[in-house]
């Protein structure tokens, strides 16, 4: 019994050495990760398949692409003008991202490189807004923005979101970690605060700027509740709300166009996120390669 077991054990052991060279290291980890990637990727992948199908294909659980891609594309792109909504969303998202970054940089500069009376009061004023989610104020905000005459305009989607406690804190934190000598040197050179910001601080803050930009871009791109309420005009509507157009309320909803719209609407934020992944990580001081 014993000898038998030993020989049995030895034979695989010998080939295991060979296997080890052929298979990647930590095979278990690889398998687990591959399964995770597949499970996580499945919903959108399936949505992509359905975006080429008609309802009948869906009902018979066909897992291969159908032949309705062009028809669905025609509905999504030409008839329901989803690209138009996407363009609106790009305009709004870029404007908010840029504006918010600029205002946050200015606020961060004021908080770190100036001493002024009531600093803590102002800081508290900004700090408290962290606890005021727009979702909760939305009713009153709607009334106010309408009173300004901004209903159904880009202004309504952009201006209320230009100031940010998160951004201000991120930059305040980042600037506080920068050695004071830099500022002293700049002052010796006679730089004004703005010159110091543009020439010295911004070049060493790209990661933080990138991180904030990623968060803001995705936040604005995915905004739903606010545009539903304030934009009553298809010309200025954003894509998350525009997707409703594909639901086709008066006849059985067609899954194909709906999924195509959903996939198209997800491409820009995913691209931004994946491309700026590194900045995102290091901006939050999350990455080891600081």
């Amino acid at each position: 019994m014993t000898t038998l077991t030993e020989t049995q054990l030895q034979a695989p052991a010998a080939s295991a050495g060979l296997m080890k060279r052929l298979l990647p290291k930590r095979l278990g980890v690889h398998i687990f990760l591959i399964i995770s990637c597949i499970v996580i990727g499945f919903p959108l992948f399936y949505a992509m398949i359905v975006s080429t199908q008609e309802n009948a294909d869906v009902y018979r659980y066909q897992f291969t692409p159908g032949n309705k891609f062009e028809a669905n594309w025609d509905i999504v792109v030409n008839k329901r003008n989803i690209p138009g909504y996407m363009l609106n969303t790009v305009i709004v998202a870029v404007a908010v991202t840029v504006g918010k970054t600029v205002l946050s940089l200015l606020a961060g500069l004021a908080f770190v490189y100036f001493r002024f009376p009531g600093k803590w009061l102002v800081f508290g004023f900004v700090l408290i807004t962290l606890m005021m989610p727009t979702e909760i104020l939305i009713i009153a905000l709607f009334r106010f923005v309408n009173a300004l005459g901004w209903g159904s305009t880009y202004l309504a989607l952009i201006v209320p979101f230009l100031a940010s406690a998160t951004g201000t804190f991120l930059f305040r934190q980042h600037f506080s970690n920068i050695p004071v000598e830099l500022c002293e040197a700049a002052q010796l050179d006679g730089a004004t605060p703005l010159q110091f910001l543009i020439k010295v601080l911004v070049p060493i803050s790209w990661n933080t700027i990138g991180a904030l930009a990623v968060i803001q871009f995705i936040y604005v791109w995915n905004m739903y509740l606010w545009p539903v309420i304030i934009i009553q005009d298809q010309v200025h509507q954003v894509v998350q709300v525009g997707l409703q157009q594909l639901q086709g309320n008066d006849q059985a909803s067609s899954f194909g166009p709906m999924m195509l719209g959903a996939v198209l609407a997800s491409i820009p934020p995913i691209l931004v996120f994946v491309l700026l992944q590194k900045q995102f990580m290091s901006g939050f001081q999350l990455s080891t390669d600081k």
């Binding site: 996580i40 205002l103 002024f116 009334r143 995705i218 999350l286």
Partner: protein, 394 residues
Amino acid sequence: MSLSTPILIMLAGALAGAGLFYGLNRRSRTALVMGALGGIAGSLLFMVPLNFCMFETERTTLDIILGLILIVVGVLLVVIPLQWLFGRFVERRIAFTGSQAGTFKGTFTPFLLLAPTIVILALFLYYPSLDTFRLSTLLYRLGAKRSAFVCLDNFTALVDPDYLRSVFITLGLSLAIVVLGLSLGLLIATAAYQPVKGARIYRTLLIWPYAVSPVVAGVVFALLFNPAGGIINYVLKNLFGITIPWLNDPTYAPWAVIIASVWKSLGFNILFYIAGLQNIPKDLTEAAAIDGANAIQRFIRVTFPLLSPITFFLIITNMTYAFFDTVGTVVYMTGGAGPLGSTNTLIFRIYQLGVQNNDLGKAAAQSIVLFLMVIGLTVIQFRTTGERVNYGGA
């Protein structure tokens, strides 16, 4: 209403304010006067805008209780900042003497730099907040000819089993989303942070759903869970011979929403846990290994405590997401309230009241309650987890 109620309230406020201040400020006489004035102002803070309505004769006990609470809150809201300012006033003389290295001169410039931020926050966050309070005391419908003042009726109406159920549904959904999202995130991160071949590609493929919107998550999962043609049931039927009425059964509908929401938030959790795991110094885990701890023990004793700041951060962000950002998902999956109201979350209620029914007064009242709940939960969070957070590691 007679004049006696306001006078009584002011007197009580003055006494409370004076007492508080006197005790806190080494019993100075100025403090006594300031405290009394603060107390009067505080007691009137809510009462004047509300015109003491909850003490009118035809009001219920609930109104009176709420009124008393508002008086106490009002006094605290005035006296505490006053006390804080009083304290700073003394320190200030020391604080603002002399210039400091690494700062620019000028008292006007910083305000100029801060002006856009302050103006926008004041106009688009502070003002609507105050307006929300005003709206919450009205019967106010968009498009109606008039509005009517209803005192605190919009709040007292929330003492109702149906609303309470929504509170539990929201808490339950959030708890499930946080617990599932964080544990799955951590599990996958422990595999993904390892320096295996192609780690970068794996990471990208794992984290992208963070960028997908709640609406798209709702649209896609509504298809996956669809009663006809839904692929999840197709798989379940073929593997286990069961069909689950995902979107049409009060037991399963919340789970369908939880699964979609966790899917959407998972990428974010993985990302932050990967970063957290990478920042844990190798020598700590190695030392534990030398002490004879096995992998699981090492994880529980060393790794997990060192991850606590990240966990804490993720709990807050996931909770906020579960409370507020799931509206889009829910609307597309279960039409909002769901079967037997089983996915009728607090934020969807506000959406339905405010946006669909245009009942702005009730929506505003519910917004305030939700706001208080979120603050309450954050504070509890800080108390229970925050203190034990280990800020060593990184």
